[in-house]
């Protein structure tokens, strides 16, 4: 008997009991759909993050204030504000051969109001160096000046998302928006940048001099900042630059030779590695859960195949009587189980892709359907059929034709 003929007989047996076949395959459908959806979303997210990291520029180092060891008690990262704008200036001044530009960042949030429009957004206090550090251009108007920064002027530059929500159809340059009842003059609009690594919309931000943000919005007299953003001339300098930065900051912070750093240096490769390992972990975790569902689906197939063998005892007996060898019967039932699970796999792949697309559209998340995952899902579902179909098929092949023909 040719494989093609065996397959046709198997498909016909499946089609004969459509509802039952569908319910049997459901476990496989759900399992495969889950795997495909999870992998597609996971890979999409990972690819997007990696792309954005390279778009931000990998030649960035972030300096965060770290925990200070106080009498043996560690605070969390950033628990003590130890980083100042002067640290940033010192870095730029002392390491010009390595560092291109430095901007301190002071973060705040708040509601911005223009006439009847209001918009909750992030307010970032940065320095005049910021466009240079981030490689981010001003689309219209101008960035604030060094004089604005020194004076702590109430001026700002806004992202495209803020423009869309606060100034629909209006040119914002020269207008005044209000943050916590304080007027800020809009000097310019930044070019569109898109979402960042964390899926956060970078255009949803108001940039103001860090001096202004710290004084006006934080009402702080201290000189500390949320972080320093340091850009390098070249990525090749990264290890040297981190070392030099560390040395300089330790010196400035007067740390004893054996004391822990009171700051953290993070570069983009580290971040991308972290993101990569986190998404990988999530993918593994969810794939494990989906695999359990596939296992359950496989057991379902085995169960229904055993029922099917019992139900079709007479058919088996007849086929044997007219010349089917035990091997042929074995192959036929394995093929049937495999066809059942493979059809389930195909439906599952389709459902998984549809599900991933739906999630992608809903969450504004890119999805990446890799051919490898589709082929793997397909082969895996076939393998499940063979594995779980083997025992029922073996039972069928060992039946005695005489008993089968008499079976009621």
């Amino acid at each position: 008997m040719t494989p093609w003929l065996t397959l046709r007989i198997a498909l016909r047996a499946i089609a004969r009991n459509k509802t039952r076949s569908l319910l049997t395959a459901l476990g496989i459908i759900v399992g495969i759909a889950a795997v495909i959806a999870v992998v597609s979303i996971g890979q999409g997210a990972q690819t997007m993050m990696m792309e954005q990291i390279s778009s931000i520029g990998t030649n960035l180092i972030m300096v965060f204030p770290g925990s200070r060891n106080q009498g043996g008690v560690h605070g969390g990262t950033g628990s003590v504000q130890t980083l100042t704008a002067e640290d940033g200036e010192a870095i730029a001044h002392d390491l010009p051969h390595l560092i291109r530009a430095v901007s301190p960042i002071v973060r705040s949030g708040g509601q911005a109001i223009y006439q009847e429009n209001n918009w909750s957004t992030q307010i970032q206090g940065v320095s005049v160096e910021f466009p240079d550090v981030r490689n981010w251009e001003v689309a219209s108007g101008a960035f604030f000046s060094a004089a604005d920064q020194r004076a702590g002027a109430r001026v700002c530059v806004i992202g495209q998302t803020v423009v869309d929500n606060l100034f629909p159809g209006i040119d914002p340059v020269g207008k005044s928006l209000r943050i916590r009842n304080m007027p800020f003059r809009v000097l310019g609009v930044m070019a569109r940048k898109g979402s960042n690594t964390m899926g956060h919309d970078q255009d949803d931000a108001i940039l103001a001099p860090f001096t202004t943000v710290r004084r006006v919005l934080y009402s702080s007299v201290f000189n500390n900042v949320s972080m320093l953003l340091v850009s390098l001339h070249s990525l090749d300098d990264l290890p040297v630059a981190k070392e030099e930065l560390s040395k300089l900051l330790r010196q400035r912070h007067k740390l004893a030779p054996h004391a822990d750093d009171d700051f953290n240096l993070l570069d983009m490769t580290e971040i991308s590695n972290t993101i990569g390992s986190v998404t990988k972990l999530m993918t593994i975790l969810l794939t494990t859960v989906a695999s359990i569902s596939l296992l359950v689906g496989g057991i379902g197939i085995m169960n229904i195949m055993l029922v099917s063998v019992t139900e079709r005892t007479r058919e088996i007996g007849l086929r044997m009587a007219v010349g089917a060898t035990p091997g042929t019967i074995l192959l036929q039932f394995i093929t049937e189980a495999m066809a059942l699970s493979t059809v389930g796999g195909i439906i599952g792949v389709a459902a998984g892709i549809a599900g991933a697309r739906a999630v992608g559209r809903l969450q504004q998340w890119p999805i990446l359907i890799s051919e490898a995952s589709v082929i793997a899902a397909f082969l895996f579902s076939a393998a499940i059929g063979v594995f779980f179909g083997f025992y029922p098929a073996l039972r069928a092949s060992r039946l005695n034709p005489i008993d089968c023909l008499r079976y009621e």
Binding site: M1, T2, L318, A321, V322, G323, T325, P326, P401, L405
Partner: protein, 231 residues
Amino acid sequence: MLITLQNLFKVYRMGDDTVNALDGVSLTIAAGEFVAIMGASGSGKSTLLNILGCLDTPTTGSYLLDGIEVSRMSRAQQARVRNRKLGFVFQNFNLLARTTALENVELPSLYGAGLPSRRRRARASELLERVGLGNRAGHSPAQLSGGQQQRVAIARALMNGPPVLLADEPTGNLDTRSSAEIMRLFTDLNREGITIVMVTHEEDIATYAARRIVMRDGRIAPTHERQETVS
């Protein structure tokens, strides 16, 4: 001789007792014979037919079919012998449900040497024509009468052109008229050269056969043999 049985024993173990379903059966059937096997239930006639059909193996003894010893074959080898040399007709027809008459007839050829599907189809419809069901090829068993179903089963038994047809109570589930039709078909087939061995307990059905073998307690009863018809 097409079929030669020599001193066949079939012993079943039932707890501590042993039962000899066949107790030393020797028998020869020549090509072209039409034999009826008769006997009370439990006489061993079904066991004999199963062994003749290579569906069962004797405990001891020899069975030569077409010159080949088939009693010690593996299950797979037996299946191949059944496929090529034997055609089966059952009391309850044993047609595949929800499968057309044509496909039912084709069935044995699926397990044989790879005949192309067009040739299989042609041969199957030819055989349906032969048993008088040429216009019922697309019908499923549920749409056919008992007599028609049995004729489909006979066409199926003939599909691979076997030299021997084994029938187990072929008219047991049929009315008198259908029974007569089936027996006429058997007679015609036998006249064309096919050897037929038929188990029956009905006296009037057995009369269609040229030779009668009666089983009693696992042995062939010496009486009622009508050897004169063997030629």
